[in-house]
């Protein structure tokens, strides 16, 4: 082992092998589950008779199921895994108290499973992002607290007083989620606020989930991976803290963007529009800092670059569609779905895929088994995401224009959007195949029985990247 690979593979990584593998494996399981549920949901959108006789899978419940499996199954597990890993690395010490994470992960995933069964049986709530039954949520809150313990210890016990942007984002996500989640539980489920205030609190929560939890998790990975792989400092790094605080301070105020024209005080919507526009400063800072991720060789940076492009585009789309004159067309249509896919599937998932491709060989000491499989995953995920978002946006555009014309009936709107929804379903199927391949590849690559398969457990850093150029 030469010095370069020693720097690449520190003794910090193997300590967390078992825990992080567990987190990522469960995350990938839920990713595939939510993909299949989303596929069924899309088929229902253009074939209403599909599964209509099964009360467990009405269109509305399936929609809630796939969203919950994605957010609390895939995004939470994978996000925590990436955050814990990079906090330990940047903290400069092996992870401590990983038992907490393992126990928390088990309880979290049991909770998610029970919650999904509860939603299918009609126990869920209708608040976006918070469909899980009320009785599951305290369990998830405690389990998340346990999962995040090593992250907090890695922050407080860090060997350097100076901190990095990746650490700020990761710590912010781990620290803020419990507060966000419990505030939403109290105001929406335990002691529901009155009337339309529920919709306002729900909007605050669902935007907070993105701007204060998932976006920071993805950005933490991006801010860590880019300089690590390219070996160059982040340009204009001084602005990074400005971008960070802009997201954190302004992000929570964007909730009203879902309520344009609704029965809520006009200032709620206006504040959201202003905040969405102010957030453009944050996106600009991210673009300046991380512009080096575009056009780089190596599979990790390809995923990260794709995800960053989706992140920036999503921020721009949020700012534009929050405007009242645009929202009057796009609101209540598939366009909103396209935007959430852009954020969750395009930005979050792709960046986290990149991070998993980077960290897995380092924690297990085993290289990825097959470069063609990685290429296939990138092709399927990239193409699937682009086509899915494009066709949903087109469906939304058609639907928005039809809705604005009172002489077009809903049956006609269904006919007009049908080809786009069929395209979206095909893209979703491609995504499921790609992600299932990734899950199998991951399981085979981390399996201890394959330990001898690679002659060099610690290969040179560039090869370890499984550089599919």
């Amino acid at each position: 082992m030469n010095t370069a690979s020693q720097a690449e593979v520190s003794e910090i990584d193997p300590s967390a092998r078992c825990t992080l593998t567990l987190l990522i494996a469960t995350a990938l399981f839920w990713l595939v589950v939510s993909g299949v549920l989303a596929l069924l949901n899309f088929i229902q959108a253009f074939t209403p008779t599909f599964l209509a006789d099964c009360p467990l899978f009405t269109y509305g419940r399936l929609r809630a199921l796939q969203e919950t499996a994605f957010l609390y199954g895939w995004a939470a597990n994978a996000g925590v895994a990436v955050a814990l890993w990079l906090l330990a690395r940047l903290g400069g010490a092996p992870q401590r108290s990983l038992n907490w994470t393992r126990a928390g992960t088990v309880f979290w995933n049991v909770g998610v499973l029970a919650g999904l069964i509860g939603i299918a049986c009609g126990e869920g709530s209708s608040a976006a992002g918070l469909h899980l039954p009320g009785y599951i949520q305290p369990l998830l809150l405690v389990a998340f607290g346990a999962m995040a313990v090593p992250g907090v210890l890695a922050w407080t016990g860090r060997s350097r007083p100076v901190t990095f942007a990746a650490q700020w984002y990761a710590v912010a996500a781990l620290f803020l989620f419990p507060w966000l989640f419990s505030a939403a539980q109290v105001t929406l489920l335990c002691a529901p606020v009155r009337g339309v205030l529920q919709a306002i609190a729900g909007g605050w929560f669902v935007q907070g989930l993105w701007t204060l939890w998932l976006a920071p998790l993805a950005l933490a990975a991006a801010y860590y991976l880019l300089p690590k792989i390219t070996g160059r400092v982040i340009p204009n790094y001084d602005f990074a803290s400005f971008g960070f605080w802009t997201l954190l301070v302004v992000g929570g105020w964007t909730g009203g963007r879902h309520l344009v024209g609704g029965p809520v005080p006009a200032w709620v919507v206006t504040v959201a529009i202003v905040s969405c526009t102010l957030l453009l400063i944050h996106y600009l800072v991210v673009a300046i800092n991380l512009r080096g991720a575009f056009g780089q060789p190596g599979v990790v940076l390809k995923f990260v670059g794709f995800g960053l492009a989706a992140y920036l585009l999503g921020g721009l789309a949020d700012a534009v569609t929050a405007m009242r004159s645009v929202a009057v067309l796009t609101q209540f249509t598939w366009f909103a779905q396209a935007q959430s896919q852009l954020a969750l599937g395009g930005a979050f998932s792709m960046i986290v895929f990149g991070a998993i491709y980077f960290l897995t060989p380092r924690i297990t000491g085993q290289a990825w088994l097959s470069t063609p499989l990685i290429r296939a995953h990138y092709a399927a995920a990239g193409l699937g995401t682009v086509v899915l978002i494009g066709s949903l946006a087109a469906a939304g555009w058609v639907q928005g224009h039809d809705l604005a014309n009172a002489s077009v009936s809903f049956a006609d709107i269904a006919v007009h959007t049908r080809p786009w929804l069929q395209t979206a379903a095909a893209a979703q199927a491609l995504l499921v195949v790609g992600n299932a391949l990734f899950a199998l590849h991951f399981l085979r690559s981390v399996c201890p029985c394959n330990a001898g398969a690679t002659t060099l457990p610690f290969r040179q850093p560039p090869t370890m990247e499984a550089s599919a150029s």
Partner: protein, 213 residues
């Protein structure tokens, strides 16, 4: 950012500020919104829905109807909600003060239902039940909300009468379950016809006239 304490306080303050601003701020404005008492009619609006309708809202909630139907009419001139016959005025916060689970919805794969109980031509309970049983265009049929059973004595007054392929076999009858009845009672209760002072329609044409010198 060397000082961890200030960092955490900053994070917490950022979250708290947005929560206080958006949720507590609007709560301060609307949390005590009272029904509007109309002296001419001698009662207060919005009226409380009957108990069966309140249960029907839970059915609406757990089936996920809000995934396709909104319950928020936008003001005339902003979108085309009035022309589609969904309501003559925009919904206001006061319309929802008695609802335990507000179902504003975020997607219109189907029509807005804020005033579906006052729909023209009028729908009665049987029309709604038949719609739920057969489905309509993009809307799936919810057959699991109905049961077919053998006729004992007389045919039940609640039985649905279909002709042709949908008609139940001889000696059997098609009945809505309690859930279906509650759901329909809820749909029939959705009616925001009363015009509050703050809900007078703001027609764009009228606004233009007002700005003329």
């Amino acid at each position: 950012m060397r000082n961890g304490l200030i960092f955490f306080v900053g994070l917490f303050a950022a979250l708290l500020a947005s929560w206080a601003g958006v949720v507590l701020g609007s709560n301060a404005q609307l949390g005590r919104l009272a029904p509007y008492y109309d002296e001419n009619e001698g009662k207060a609006f919005p009226e409380r829905a009957p108990g069966l309708a309140a249960r029907g809202q839970l059915v609406y909630d757990d089936l996920g109807c809000a995934a396709c139907h909104t319950q928020q009419v936008r003001r005339p001139g902003f979108g085309n909600d009035k022309a589609r016959g969904w309501g003559d005025r925009q919904n206001v916060a006061r319309d929802y003060i008695h609802q335990t689970r507000v179902q504003l919805g975020a997607s219109r794969l189907g029509p807005d239902l804020a005033n579906v109980g006052a729909r023209k031509p009028p729908y009665d309970a049987e029309d709604f039940l038949k719609l739920l049983y057969t489905g309509n265009g993009g809307m799936p049929a919810y057959r699991f909300l109905f049961e077919t059973r053998a006729v004992v004595g007389q045919v039940s007054a609640k039985a649905l009468h279909f002709t042709g392929a949908l008609a139940p076999a001889a000696g059997r009858e098609l009945l809505p379950t309690r859930r279906a009845e509650a759901l329909v009672a809820y749909l029939l209760s959705l009616n925001n016809a009363y015009e509050y002072p703050e809900a007078r329609p703001v027609e764009p044409a009228a606004a233009q006239e007002g700005t003329k010198p």
